[in-house]
């Protein structure tokens, strides 16, 4: 267990600040692709600022769980980010062997209470979303853990900070394997963050949504907490992906921050491109996609031996 240095703290705060920018950039990419001016880059911040100042509306059916859900989810994400090395070479705020288990179980805690918050309303819509979320995340979980096992296996280290920070050539994976691993993680990223082809963040149809429909009854500051949480979660997965990408690239020293930003930007833009060019999968096809992600991860694991 190690306590990080000021750099880690700065990075942590930067992450908290920058996370809502990601959906903003994705929207810009989609606007470019669609041939429209599109939402301002900072629109997610404007939305948060508005929501945080609005009033509350609660259903008479609901209990305290409806706001416990978003709060626990955000607290879990805020904590999870302290366990993740945010930048190559800089250790996270907290670190210990098995920290990734704690990280993803914290996220799972957030997910459980998000589901409960949705089900608290007693609406079939939210039930539908919660059901889909529960199923898809259950299928994504093994894939995620195989990816982690691959990282641990390759590096021989038991903590994220050791894997990404302390080892000199962290993964030393040959190109093909790291590509497979990234592909698997990328699929999980799309699925866990409710993006196309699994979910459509822009759709406004109760019956086809997953994430959006779970928060149909959340208003004002509660919704702000949820939306901020959504961008933090996306950020978290992007950082993980980014770390794997950068771990196979040579260390550029002073240019590292640029490389880091570039990698994050490329991932963001790629999400925008996927959303601009692909249709959504049929709901019953999504499990197949997630099993495919597991299979990919498994291939990466086996090949990497």
């Amino acid at each position: 267990m190690k306590i990080g240095i000021p750099a880690s703290l700065i990075l942590y705060l930067f992450s908290l600040m920058a996370a809502p920018l990601v959906p903003g950039i994705i929207n810009r990419v989609k606007a470019r692709f669609g041939g429209r001016r599109g939402q301002p880059l900072l629109q997610p911040y404007y939305d948060l600022a508005r929501l945080i100042r609005k009033g509350f509306v609660y259903s008479r059916t609901t209990t305290a769980l409806i706001y416990w859900g978003p709060l626990l989810q955000l607290a879990a994400l805020g904590t999870a980010l302290t366990l993740l090395p945010l930048f190559p070479g800089v250790p996270p705020l907290l670190s210990m062997p098995g920290d990734y288990i704690l990280l993803f179980y914290l996220l799972a805690l957030g997910r459980l209470f998000t589901i409960l918050a949705a089900m608290d309303t007693g609406s079939a819509f939210e039930g539908m979303g919660a059901n889909r979320e529960a199923l898809f995340s259950a299928l994504a979980e093994p894939a995620l853990f195989i990816i982690l096992a691959t990282l641990v296996h390759r590096s021989g280290f038991l903590s994220l900070s050791q894997i990404f920070v302390e080892s000199s050539a962290p993964l030393a994976l040959p190109g093909a394997e790291v590509m497979i691993l990234m592909a698997a993680l990328y699929l999980i990223l799309l699925s866990e963050n409710a993006r196309i082809p699994v979910d459509d963040p822009n759709t406004h149809l109760e019956l086809t949504m997953i994430h959006e429909v779970m928060v149909l009854d959340h208003a004002g500051p509660d919704l702000a907490v949820i939306q901020y949480g959504v961008s933090l979660k996306l950020w978290l997965f992007m950082i993980l992906l980014c770390q794997i990408v950068l771990s196979v690239l040579p260390n550029l020293g002073v240019l590292m921050p640029l490389l880091w930003l570039a990698a994050l930007l490329i991932i963001t833009i790629s999400i925008g491109i996927v959303e601009s060019t692909m249709a959504r999968l049929q709901m019953r096809r999504v499990p197949q996609l997630l099993v495919a992600a597991s299979a990919l991860a498994l291939v990466a694991y086996i090949v990497s031996r």
Binding site: K54, G55, L109, A124, L135, A149, P221
Partner: protein
């Protein structure tokens, strides 16, 4: 050992007094009070033994052939005693209030008698150091449990559950007879546990047979798939505090048995580890899968116990793997994780069953499809259930996370270790643990949602009111303990270490040294979860302050502006489970009675989905049908009644004959 005998004495006295004064309300205090008192003494004593690393061993002669009153309490036994007495203590206190409606009834006296007998039986099982004594204790425990299960024996399905339990448990006992006979062969017919260590010299084949017999015999009690079928029958049938006791601790005696035999055999070898892991994975995955499918609340909890037995087995398996790989870190983490999970599961499953019991007591049924909206009416019960459910999903900052974390860490260490052996099985452990965890999350999300959240699905729920504070006190104590373990795992792990000694074959000092590097890890969990709690509390207060200043509206759940929403417009348990079955509905044992709407103007169709345990429908039912046909002649002699029971007796007699023959 004296306090231990005093404990037994108090239990016996309590049973008898409860029966004597059964017509008075006081009987509840006598019966359950004695159980609580005895358990408290036992708890202190076992804790003392565990912390102080005090080993007890006594033996008194017994006139029965091969038998002796021989007791032994080492770290492992002390740990199990602690779990048994801890849970018994809390359940007994809860039961004093829970059974008030039955006060004065004769069957209530029998209940208390059996309750105390069950506790005594379990305590004896984990302390017995002689085969015969052990089997006697085992039978006391089993029969006590039987009478507890059929407490409400007016209902046919409860009697049926009782039979299934009785058959299953005695088939298990039959295997145990065989096991002890086999073990005794190598120690010149002696039934003393101490002598069984001679079995270590036996050949691999014998070892395999013994280990298999142990798994079959004890596995039937623990609920290892496919020997689990009695569990989902018995748990819903029994009154909830009894289910709590059975599910939380009684089935763990099966695990104890496996562990005890394990210490007696010349294991570990790879195949044993692989076998346990495989069994654990199958048990865990199928357990949670069937748990998800249930519509009966208590049945679902029962299947979740099977799942947790699976996790415990995985832990033991990976521990054994560590031993086989000569990697003591993995071994220690695996066993410590498994043992801690035994304690953890005892806590949260007791809490789950007791809080579920309070729901059941109010509604008089366990059908989740008729529940809903109870969190508003039973806020304390609901909150306790949610805490327990969070723990059973293995989520921080509760205790379930810590034990799963240790097992994970063992598996990840396996993955990280340079040797190729065991990497595959470690990966399997990681994959299945993550899948089990995610499915458990989905399952309990479903249970909480359908039972406690949303709008009531039946009108009688409207009038349900919360019980007195007192009944919740033992439950809250459990919840506090769970938080304590979750937040300070370092501390609890030290407590458990002595129990790993007999399993790993290491000394106290060795285990302590090995574990030293993990103290910071566990303190890391403390810091992280504390940070999590801190962030949450900050956010919570931020929101609370906002709420004071902001406009606040209360309305109905957004239902698209429809005029007349009904509780039917909520997800049902079956609907939630449906997507998890995917395309394996038939294989999963789903028996759908769908009268699909056809034609342009359908009228009056209905739908019913029943999930039956595939092992019952595909394995046992055909087997017993076949046996019943085989025993058709006996049917005539017995006026055609109870063929299954006859089968059981016949098998028993046969086995006894074999046993006698073998010893002579």
């Amino acid at each position: 050992m004296l306090p231990f005998f005093i404990v037994l004495l108090i239990l016996l006295a309590g049973s008898i007094l409860a029966m004597l004064f059964v017509r008075r309300t006081m009987a509840l205090w006598l019966g359950f009070g004695a159980a609580a008192l005895a358990s408290l003494i036992g708890l202190v004593w076992s804790l003392h033994g565990l912390i102080g690393r005090v080993h007890h061993a006594v033996a008194y002669a017994w006139s029965l052939p091969y038998a002796s009153f021989s007791f032994m309490v080492d770290g492992l036994a002390a740990f199990f005693l602690m779990v048994i007495f801890l849970v018994s203590f809390l359940v007994a206190i809860h039961a004093i209030i829970y059974f008030r409606p039955y006060a004065g009834q004769i069957r209530c006296g029998l209940l208390m008698f059996s309750f105390n007998a069950l506790i005594a039986g379990m305590a004896l099982v984990v302390t017995a150091a002689n085969g015969i004594l052990f089997l006697m204790a085992w039978e006391i425990m089993s029969f006590a449990a039987y009478f507890l299960i059929v407490f409400d024996d007016k209902k046919a399905e409860i009697r049926r559950s009782g039979y299934i339990y009785l058959i299953a448990t005695h088939i298990g006992t039959a295997f145990l007879f065989a096991l002890f006979w086999l073990l005794a062969l190598k120690s010149n017919g002696s039934m003393a546990f101490a002598g069984f260590s001679a079995f270590r010299t036996a050949g691999l084949a014998m070892q395999v047979v013994a280990a298999s017999l142990a798994v079959l015999g004890f596995g039937a009690k623990a609920g290892i798939v496919p020997l689990h079928v009695w569990l989902p029958e018995a748990h819903p049938a029994a009154p909830s505090p009894v289910s709590a006791l059975m599910s939380a601790v009684m089935i763990k005696t099966g695990i104890y048995g496996i562990l005890r035999i394990y210490t007696l055999l010349a294991l570990p070898v790879h195949w044993w580890a692989y076998g346990l892991i495989a069994l654990g994975v199958v048990t865990g995955l199928l357990g949670i899968f069937f748990s998800m499918m249930q519509r009966d609340l208590k049945r679902s909890l029962a299947y979740s116990s099977i799942e947790n037995i699976g996790i415990i087995l995985i832990g033991i398996g990976i521990g054994s793997l560590g031993l086989a790989l000569r990697n003591s870190t993995i071994a220690l983490l695996g066993f410590a994780g498994a043992l801690l999970h035994i304690l953890n599961h005892a806590l949260f499953k007791a809490l789950l069953f007791m809080s579920a019991g309070m729901v059941v007591q109010k509604l008089h049924h366990h059908d989740m499809e008729k529940m809903g909206g109870l969190q508003k009416r039973l806020p304390r019960t609901g909150t306790l259930f949610i805490i327990a459910a969070t723990a059973v999903c293995g989520l921080p900052p509760l205790n379930g996370f810590v034990s799963e974390f240790l097992i994970y860490l063992a598996a990840f260490s396996g993955v990280a270790s340079p040797g190729p052996a065991g990497i595959a099985s470690s990966l399997i452990v990681i994959i299945s643990l993550s899948l089990i965890g995610a499915l458990a999350l989905a399952t309990f999300a479903k249970i909480i949602s359908i039972v406690f959240l949303g709008a009531p699905r039946s009108p009688e729920i409207e009038s349900v009111r919360e019980s007195t504070w007192a009944i919740h006190l033992p439950l809250m104590a459990i919840a506090l303990l769970m938080f304590a373990i979750g937040l300070f795992p370092d501390w609890i792990l030290r407590l458990i270490l002595p129990a790993t000694v007999p399993l790993t074959g290491m000394t106290d000092l060795e285990t302590a040294t090995l574990l030293a590097p993990f103290s910071p890890v566990l303190r890391g969990i403390t810091v992280t979860t504390m940070l999590f709690g801190f962030i949450f509390v900050c956010l919570y207060h931020l929101r609370k302050n906002m709420l004071k200043k902001r406009a606040y509206q209360e309305t109905e759940t957004w239902g698209c502006g429809y005029l007349a929403p009904t509780p039917r417009m909520q997800y049902t348990s079956a609907s939630f489970a449906d997507s998890f079955m995917g395309s394996v509905k038939k294989a999963a044992g789903l028996d759908e009675e769908v009268d699909r709407p056809t034609g342009l103007f359908p009228k009056g169709q209905s739908f019913r989905a029943m999930v039956q345990d595939t092992f019952i429908t595909r394995l046992y039912a055909p087997f017993f049908e076949f046996s019943a046909r085989l025993l058709g002649f006996a049917q005539k002699l017995q006026h055609g009644r109870l063929p299954l029971y006859i089968l059981y007796i016949t098998v028993m007699l046969l086995l006894l004959l074999v046993w006698y023959g073998g010893l002579r």
